[in-house]
Symmetry: C2
């Protein structure tokens, strides 16, 4: 079983965290056969944490977890904090393949998305 | 003259701030006739600040500034901090029309982008 774990920063505003959870539900609805489990987790300020999110995936039977940072730029959270959290969890589940996908902002099409969005503003 | 001001969070990692500046340059290259000026600014930790970015646009002759929050979710930065910074600057330039576009994460197609990205992971 393959799992997608969407990692967001987390906020003191619950509406913001719920927004990420709703997005994750929409992604789950759209991924079709690619992922058996789609789960969200938060770097800080909201639950589940990254280790908690990975654990949820593993408990549901995931043998592979793809961690996708829902971040726009490679600040310290993307460059250091997320890899550190994931590395600590890898030791706990040596039988599970845990990989980190490039963060969302690294996608080439982000510029096009911004241009299209700005044109409507 | 119409200006687009891309607002990112800002990072202690200079590479992250430079990434935003490079994205802004790519956007400028693609916006064509829609915007005469495309500038980036940062909420914190990098320059120019939001008031500084608006000032740069106004000094180049902008009569209209569209502020586009380069953020994925509506945490306090999007809900409170950016509007507060913009409001303070509006008083300084009453002759300039300054509007705030919806933040990037509010776009419907974000879920599709995540699905496409995850499928390649």
């Amino acid at each position: 079983m393959k799992s997608l774990l969407v990692i967001a920063h987390g906020s003191r505003r619950q509406a913001s965290n719920d927004e990420v959870r709703e997005l994750t539900a929409r992604i789950a609805h759209k991924t079709g056969q690619s992922f058996d489990i789609v789960q969200s987790a938060f770097l800080e300020l909201a639950e589940p944490s990254i280790p908690g999110g990975i654990e949820l995936c593993v408990k549901q039977g995931a043998k592979e977890v793809v961690v996708l940072p829902y971040f726009l730029s490679a600040g310290r959270h993307v460059a250091e904090d997320i890899p550190n959290e994931v590395a600590a969890t890898r030791d706990k589940y040596p039988e599970v393949k845990i990989t980190i996908a490039p963060y969302l902002g690294s996608i080439d099409t982000i510029a096009d998305l911004m241009v299209a969005h700005a044109a409507q503003a």
